[in-house]
């Protein structure tokens, strides 16, 4: 290993260990999507008419439909949580330690992102495992194909979190982020309803969903879970990941951004 990969490995390992050691965080990360699975599946089942759309080849039940969206939601929350821990200052010290090490800043921030992705992978696979125990199973290859999809969507959502942490000045504003970023991103996506269902409600709603990067993360995961490839979603998520990451880099530029405000 060279100096760069040694750093990457250590940063990822540290984050994963911190997550596994924190039982409360682990449990809540697991319980949240499960609760949603049960509640939404019970509450919305009637609302979703039946229709066969790719990647599905048969009629599916609502709880099968929302599993990919909940996987993406886990990653969305995870990205926001790591950005919250930066805003809260819990992780600011370790960020300082990270940024003063003699590697390019983009690499250090990328390592930080990958660490968040690793943690989100642990959560998503645990969730998929429990869902399987509850009878919601994917094709076996789907569990393999979904890995690269999750890495990419995790990078995009993590980079969004990093971007937010670099622009938010105070904690109070974080509630605003929840209201104006996370919830709209989640609800105005294909996580809970397919696009055709949205179109029935409103054209505008459908169009918003179609340009929401989160929608494409959900679809990338959905197709991968059925061992299928969705190039359009891949393009969107890849572009989103790069764009958010570049903007986050600007935010962490020592000449401006976060560090100037937080000493």
């Amino acid at each position: 290993m060279n100096a760069w990969t040694i750093a990457l490995y250590a940063i990822v390992l540290r984050e994963a260990m911190r997550f596994l050691q924190n039982r409360g965080r682990f449990l809540s990360a697991l319980v949240r999507p499960l609760v949603w699975l049960v509640i939404f599946a019970a509450g919305f089942r009637a609302a979703l008419g039946l229709s066969i759309t790719p990647p599905y080849q048969t009629y599916i039940t609502y709880e099968v439909y929302i599993v990919p969206g909940l996987c993406a939601m886990i990653q969305l929350f995870n990205g926001m949580q790591s950005s919250l821990s930066l805003v809260y200052d819990q992780e600011m010290g370790s960020m300082r330690l990270l940024l003063t090490s003699p590697r390019p800043r983009w690499w250090l921030l990328f390592c930080k992102l990958m660490a968040g992705v690793a943690v989100s992978l642990l959560q998503v696979y645990a969730f998929l495992g429990i869902a399987a125990l509850m009878g919601i199973r994917m094709p076996a290859m789907g569990y393999v194909y979904v890995l690269p999809a999750l890495v990419l969507s995790g990078l995009m959502l993590g980079a969004l979190g990093l971007l937010i942490s670099s622009t938010i000045r105070q904690l109070e504003n974080f509630a605003g982020v929840m209201n104006f970023v996370i919830f709209p991103m989640f609800f105005l996506s294909t996580a809970l309803y397919p696009l055709w269902k949205m179109a029935e409600a409103s054209r505008l709603l459908r169009d918003i969903c179609a340009v929401n990067p989160f929608t494409h993360a959900v679809e990338l995961i959905r197709f991968a879970l059925y061992a299928q490839f969705n190039g359009w979603a891949l393009l969107w998520v890849g572009t989103g990941a790069v764009a958010f990451f570049l903007l986050a880099l600007l935010g962490y530029d020592p000449a401006r951004g976060l560090m100037r405000r937080k000493g």
Binding site: M1, N2, A3, W4, I6, A7, Y9, A10, I11, R14, M17, R18, Q21, M92, G93, S94, R96, L97, L98, L99, T100, S101, P102, R103, P104, P254, A255, M259, R260, G263
Partner: protein, 245 residues
């Protein structure tokens, strides 16, 4: 600049919005010297540390570490700096060793090489027998010593410490102050930010910082003159702790 200059700060200024936190700061540190950056709260000490570690950058002025320009060659400069920040940066629920290993990895070191360096660094701070303890179980003084040891793993030429004794009891303060003076005696260049005069020995260099300006750089003995360092310091700064407006 001569070869023996380990840290050189020239004409550095920085503003937070309208507030001038550092105003045309210049000073130089010779290799192997213990230099106290003495200033009341709000003088700009931590701001200067952020600039020295490139958490902040400014267009006004120049910083050189061991001959490397921080703006032009940041990685070479950073590799020669060890830093202990004002706020502790520790993972409390893991062992001292794990904390040390993590830091070594950030600097690209792993395996046996890292272990040897960590052992040596802990040994220098008399912390070796605590390597396997959880950081949470350590008292404040030992935690700080661990942070100092950690800052030495990559064998830096310049050690920066920002108010390292804040919150420690008298015995721990004494011990840490003595330890770091020893490090300087062994050849390390030390910049020690403080507002506490009693941490400074007569032979130390002192840079007096007040309201973002350097008022004086001289040896502690020189600044004290006939009287006490503390009187000279209070007279220079007008006794205004919380100089911040």
């Amino acid at each position: 600049m001569t070869r023996t200059t380990a840290l050189c700060v020239s004409n550095v200024s920085l503003s937070y919005g309208a507030k001038r936190a550092l105003d045309d700061v210049s000073f130089a540190l010779d290799r192997g010297r213990f230099c106290a950056l003495l200033g009341p709260n709000g003088a700009g000490k931590s701001t200067l540390f952020s600039l020295l570690t490139r958490l902040l950058v400014t267009r006004e002025g120049r910083i050189e570490v061991a001959g490397f320009d921080l703006a032009r060659n940041p990685r070479a400069a950073l590799a020669r700096i060890g830093v202990v920040f004002q706020q502790p940066t520790l993972d409390l629920d893991t062992s001292v060793m794990r904390n040390m290993r993590y830091f070594a990895a950030l600097h690209g070191m792993a395996g046996r090489d890292a272990t040897a360096r960590i052992d040596a660094a802990l040994e220098r701070l008399n912390m070796r027998e605590r390597a396997d303890e959880k950081v949470r179980a350590l008292n404040g003084g030992h935690r700080r010593r661990m942070e100092i040891a950690r800052a030495l793993i990559h064998a830096p030429e310049v050690l920066l410490l920002d108010e390292p004794t804040v919150g420690l009891d008298t015995a721990a303060r004494r011990s840490i102050t003595a330890h770091v003076h020893d490090l300087a005696a062994e050849g390390l260049t030390v910049l020690w930010a403080t507002h506490l005069v009693d941490e400074i020995e007569p032979s130390d260099d002192v840079v007096v910082l007040n309201r973002g300006r350097v008022l004086k750089q001289a040896s502690a003995a020189e600044i004290a003159g006939e009287g006490d360092l503390i009187d000279a310091f209070i007279e220079m700064t007008g006794g205004n702790d919380e100089a911040a407006a």
